[in-house]
Amino acid sequence: MNIIVCIKQVPDAKDVRLDPKTNTLAREGVESIMNPFDRHALEEGVRLKETHGGQVTALSMGPPQAESVLREAISCGADQGVLVSDRAFAGADTWATSYTLRKAIEASGEFDLILCGKQAIDGDTAQVGPGLAGQMKLPFVTCVQKIRNLDDGIIQVERMMDDGFDVLELPVPALLTVVKDINDPRVPSLKGKMKAKKATIKILSAADIGAEEQCIGLAGSPTRVVNVFTPAPRGDRKMFTGSLEEQVDQLVDQLRSYL
């Protein structure tokens, strides 16, 4: 069971500021952490490895300093870290990021499962996981709260929904994005930290993964941030009271009044 866990280094949510010029997150001088959802994906990968054997590879796209989250991943049980890093990747949106991760994975060899956090806490898009699965034409499930079973190339998972959960099966290789409920991540171990300190993090450039220039970085990104603003408060709220029937009648009357 070879597992790839996609990890993003994000600014610590305790200290978030916007760059007034670009309307994007100001990252300078802000402490960086492993995206919290990715910690849960990593823990699940390590647990699968402990049960089924195999290797866990932590993969990240980011600037050279993102190497530190890959070392942290090794201290939490990953076997190796791969950093996809190149100035040409700068300004990538979720599409270009998905493309870049796909190329990096294709350059790295065989795998059975890709695990991602549900979303990153900086961009909050939740698009890279599904985007990567789309790029790779892999079956995927988002918001996984439990892996129920893994047997004979079929993985059975629970997908968190607003009103409960779905039980889904999919063949591996596959991609899953996970929510925090899936597990309680371990604290990095002492032996893991010592291993991480000595580990060599493999660094891949755009040329190493054979990425096409027009598909990466700002040039490969269809998204443009036009404006970031706080939405104005919505209009008045009205609470209906009385029995259920009375409340429904009041609601219908209210809706009719708008017609």
Partner: protein
């Protein structure tokens, strides 16, 4: 203050701190209220390799000593002294094997201790043997290839939760303390059972229980070290373990000071935060000063002990008595700074003050520690 820790020492401190922040603090109030043993947290500590810090490298450990244990326990005690005590008791329980056990015995037990697969406990205290440990009445008689143990141990930390117990018993009752030996008893051994579980004032998440040995038969090779040397090993064990208890005082004192300062900055009375009043400032200043003095003494004593000096009893007792008396005072003052709120269970200082009291009592009362220091002084000055 910067104690110039090495990279590895800092790593141990950081790892214990992460366990405290992520695993202990969110659960401590519930464990305290329910009198519940922190099994899950000990498993988390095992995964983080904390149980391996005091185990020699040849048995799968990290090869640390007293100082490494002190660093870890200090951070764990910031979260909960009950949880930290459960960890410390496992180290205490296996020290006799490390100090006096033969190679075969170490090979048998130390790897499991290092990985956290099995925990240990130390069985010395009895109903009539507290401060006067020589009053033990548990006996061990050799019958063919087996030792037969009879007696009841009282207030044993980790009792009923650990899998490995070091039991002090008399192999030659006529010789008193010189007739004592140490044995390893395992959970499930015939004739070994658990008795009354105590309901305590503080450290309620730790298990404190009776051990009952009724014609308990164990293999001959469970004798730790030589017959009749049990008390010497017990004294060496306690010399090494006491700085650990002292560091629980330091961690607890730090936690109480942190709560008190944060509260004093927020609480407004007479139109000002109460930290601006000199009466409160002086209390906080004394708490911080006593705390730092205790930390310095504990660190120095632990490093001294790791140098394996001929006599370690005096510094060991000095740091235990100073740091735990400090913890009682600082936690009591923290409750005072928080006033009525501090007395309520909604704030953590109430539990901290309850937890502090045991530190002055267990692993040798602070009166016994002063006896030790006094006797050493008497020997030093001719």
């Amino acid at each position: 203050m910067d104690y110039l820790l090495s990279e590895e020492e800092q790593m141990i401190k950081d790892t214990a701190r992460e366990i405290t922040e992520e695993k202990i603090i969110p659960l401590r109030a519930e464990l305290d209220e329910k009198n519940e043993f922190p099994t899950v947290i000990l498993e988390d500590m095992a995964k983080a390799d904390l149980f391996s810090i005091f185990v020699p490298e040849e048995y799968g450990g990290l090869g640390g000593g007293c100082f490494e244990i002190v660093l870890a326990l200090e951070e764990l005690a910031r979260g909960c002294v009950g949880v930290a005590t459960s960890f410390a008791a496992s180290a205490l329980g296996i020290f006799p094997v490390l100090i006096a056990g033969n190679e075969e015995m170490k090979q048998k037990y130390m790897p499991d201790i290092a990985s956290g697969k099995r925990w240990a406990a130390f069985g010395l205290t009895e109903a009539n043997a507290g401060s006067d440990a020589s009053g033990i009445q548990t006996t061990a008689v050799l019958d063919g290839d087996e030792w037969v143990l009879n007696g009841t141990k009282q207030w044993i930390t980790n009792g009923g939760e650990s899998q490995i117990y070091t039991i002090i018993a008399l192999t030659d009752p006529s010789k008193g303390a010189r007739g004592a030996s140490i044995f390893v008893v395992e959970d499930g051994d015939p004739g070994f059972s658990y008795g009354k579980k105590e309901d305590k004032m503080g450290i309620r998440s730790s298990a404190t229980r009776e051990l009952i040995l009724k014609d308990c038969r164990i293999p001959k090779d469970r004798l730790v070290g030589r017959k009749g040397t049990g008390f010497i090993t017990v004294m060496k064990t306690l010399d090494i373990s006491r700085p650990g208890i002292a560091s629980l005082g330091v961690g607890l004192g730090q936690a109480a000071l942190d709560e008190a300062v944060v509260y004093a900055k927020q609480r407004v009375q007479f139109g000002k935060p109460i930290i601006s009043f000199q009466a409160v400032q002086h209390m906080l200043a004394d708490m911080a000063t006593q705390l730092e003095a205790a930390r310095s003494l504990v660190y120095a004593a632990a490093r001294h002990i790791d140098a394996n000096p001929k006599n370690m009893s005096k510094p060991s007792s000095m740091c235990k008595v100073f740091a735990t008396d400090m913890a009682m005072k600082v936690t009591t003052d923290a409750v005072q700074v928080l006033g009525g709120y501090g007395y309520m269970k909604e704030y953590p200082v109430e539990k901290m003050m309850r937890d502090a009291k045991i530190l002055q009592i267990y692993e040798g009362t602070n009166q016994i520690q002063r006896n030790v220091i006094g006797q050493e002084l008497n020997k030093e000055y001719i």
